[in-house]
């Protein structure tokens, strides 16, 4: 016998929080929110949340962690975060009200009632209007005319050149850095085969600076820049 586990989909971080609170039969207070921090983090960890929503889930996670630490170390609290937490709870309570209202709407829908106005058609129904005298043979003739107008020759072919990717350039810079501890930006760029490649090279440099993999320095404007390995 097999068991299927149904994973509940949540409509965002507040939805998840509320269901955790409900499950534990808690109320929306600092303390009970701190209590469910572990469950909340476990959920984020275990279920793949799509990247669009991840920020929103993490934002709430950080607030929960704050509450939890506050419960453990009540002396280390500042007013600003206090204010933010108050707002957070108000927000959660507000969401709860609308969620309940949504439940109510769902119940109404389930009754299957609706109304129509005189002569009204359902708006999402596709309707075909044709001129009054049109007959099937007119449409056939029109369609044949359109077919005749279609060009017989095959579509013109165009090819797009394959371009280097930032990852490829980063690999290239990395292996160059393995040989020499420092590189000269201008010398490297001279090796580029196209304008696009120069642009990608710059993007790669920026990405590596962001990752703190390299440092780029320059003595004065328009001078050659030095790339140093930071790892």
């Amino acid at each position: 016998m097999t068991y299927t586990v149904k994973i509940q989909q949540f409509e965002g971080p507040f939805d998840l929080l509320l269901s955790l609170i409900e499950k534990e039969k808690l109320s929306i207070t600092d303390l009970s929110l701190a209590k469910i921090t572990r469950e909340y983090l476990k959920y984020i960890d275990e279920f793949k949340i799509n990247t669009d929503q991840l920020v929103e889930f993490l934002n709430i996670a950080s607030k929960l962690i704050y509450l939890k630490s506050k419960a453990l170390l009540p002396s280390l609290i500042n007013d600003e975060s206090e204010e933010e937490i108050k707002e957070f709870k108000t927000q959660l309570e507000e969401y709860k009200r609308y969620k309940e209202a949504a439940e109510h709407l769902k119940d109404i829908l389930a009754e299957g009632k609706f109304s129509r106005s005189p002569g009204e058609r359902q708006f999402d129904k596709a309707i075909f209007f044709h001129p009054p005298e049109t007959e099937l043979k007119d449409l056939t003739i029109l369609f044949q005319q359109i077919l005749k107008k279609m060009p017989d020759k095959p579509l013109e072919e165009k090819t797009i050149q394959k371009q280097v990717t930032i990852e490829q350039i980063i690999d290239r810079i990395n292996s160059a850095l393995k040989k020499n501890k420092t590189l000269n930006l201008l010398d490297e760029i001279k090796k580029a085969k196209s304008k696009i490649e120069i642009v990608v090279y710059f993007l790669a440099i920026l990405e590596m600076i962001k990752q703190k993999a390299i440092r780029v320095s320059q003595k004065e404007n328009f001078d050659n820049a030095k790339i140093e390995d930071l790892r």
């Binding site: 769902k106 009632k113 609706f114 129509r116 999402d124």
Partner: protein, 167 residues
Amino acid sequence: MNIKEIIESLLLVANKPVSPSELADILKTDETNALEALNGLIEDYKNRGINIIQHDSKYEMITSPSNAKFVSLFLNEETRKDLNQGALETLAIVIYKQPVTKSEIENIRGVNCDYAVRSLLIRGIIEEKGRKESLGKPILYGTNSNLLKHFGIKSLDELPKTEDKND
């Protein structure tokens, strides 16, 4: 001239929600008279197969929600698809907070609401209600009478109040 009877006829052919002032214009009377006649009609039609609904101070004749099953059999139409949880939450916020912007909805729900707002717009149960006089002039959304018809209710007052309806 029986104002009430005329308005009854006009409501039947209107094909859209009508305001008391439009009716008053045609009847060469004032709005109070039109409104009085409308309220009389609502009362007359209360327990009939046709009802009159009011939304946003506009009036419309509709089939009674209680006969929905037979109306859909007769029209040979599938009854509408349900709204998903996200769309319902979004709709609830629009109903109680209208006029409301998308970012205000997103603040409450804590998630992006592009899809939910769009699906409600496509179904025609919410609509744009101008723009908010704030940074970026965001679009304001509100409900329309299609919402009442979709849910088979005669007025938004049939929905329970939420605590902060007036904030």
